[in-house]
């Protein structure tokens, strides 16, 4: 196989760089033993991911639990696709000082409604990969590369 098509494992710094440049990710949680996925808007804060949520299943399934988080992207011009997965404990931001810090972060809400809670995923595993899709075409991926 053409080595241009080999999968490249991304160094952690590069994974975080991609996290910094991306605004939509997917949160995976366990709910009653079953997996659920929620698309979320987020920001990176050092080695953590911050997102806002209302009270509800997303909050209760994530809070004080281990969660997984995924981002991916594709550049149609080059055929290069990449993905990053972050795993760690999710905790609600409760302290007044920390809450004030995160309150002004540019977290565009994925959907309407009150979003009174901030959740932080403290990363303890980060992995990423990149490859050139051999049969790439523009119709296959919906996500543009990060800005």
């Amino acid at each position: 196989m053409d080595e241009r098509f080999d999968t490249e494992v991304l160094p952690e710094a590069e994974c975080w760089e991609l996290v910094s440049r991306t605004v939509v990710g997917r949160l995976a949680v366990c709910l009653d033993g079953r997996p659920h996925i929620f698309p979320i808007n987020f920001v990176r804060d050092a080695d953590s991911i911050l997102f806002r949520t209302a009270s509800g299943t997303k909050l209760s399934a994530a809070r004080d639990c281990r969660v997984a988080f995924e981002i991916d992207g594709y550049q149609p011009e080059t055929g290069v696709a990449w993905s990053v997965v972050v795993a760690g404990m999710a905790t609600e931001v409760r302290s007044g000082i920390e809450w004030a810090d995160v309150h002004d972060l540019p977290l565009f809400p994925w959907h309407v409604g009150p979003k009174g809670h901030f959740v932080r995923i403290e990363a303890d595993e980060v992995s990423g990969r990149r490859f050139r899709a051999p049969y790439a075409n523009a119709s296959g991926f919906q996500h543009a590369s990060p800005p």
């Binding site: 997996p35 659920h36 993905s83 977290l107």
Partner: protein, 139 residues
């Protein structure tokens, strides 16, 4: 101002049919795992190929979640499907053989000789419409 609309089943299936990259999540021990996959829709099953390894070892015969999403000029949409995953690599019968002949448009490199099908039992979707005057960063 943003408005949230639930998508009906037909719209969800249409979006699943029209896209080829999604994310599959499953529970390993008590931990959620999420991975991107390239897929095609075959009837009411999400079909993808995978190499031997964690993905293959963990997914078959489990309840899994599958997600796609995208953005439009004035908003975003997402579809979440749930169902049971089955390994179809060695399944016999006309349907299984036909399934294994389906071309999947984009593939990560490497040998991917294993076929997984998620029989969708539950599907939901939603669309967020953002008014033009909205500023990103607002609530």
């Amino acid at each position: 101002m943003t408005t949230l609309t639930q998508l009906d089943d037909d719209e969800c299936w249409e979006l699943l049919r029209g896209n080829h990259t999604g994310r599959v999540a499953f529970v390993s021990g008590d931990r959620p795992v999420i991975l991107p996959v390239n897929y095609v829709l075959d009837g009411e099953s999400i079909v993808f190929r995978t190499a031997p390894g964690q993905k293959l070892a963990e997914i078959p015969m489990r309840h899994v979640a599958f997600e796609i999403d995208g953005t439009t000029a004035d908003g975003a949409w997402s579809v979440l499907a749930q169902g049971q995953a089955r390994e179809m690599t060695n399944a016999v019968g006309e349907a299984s053989e036909a399934l294994r002949a389906i071309p999947i448009p984009i593939q990560a490199p490497g040998d991917k000789d294993h076929w997984i099908a998620i029989k969708v039992s539950h599907i939901t979707g939603r669309r967020v419409h953002r008014e033009a005057t909205d500023e990103v960063g607002g609530t």
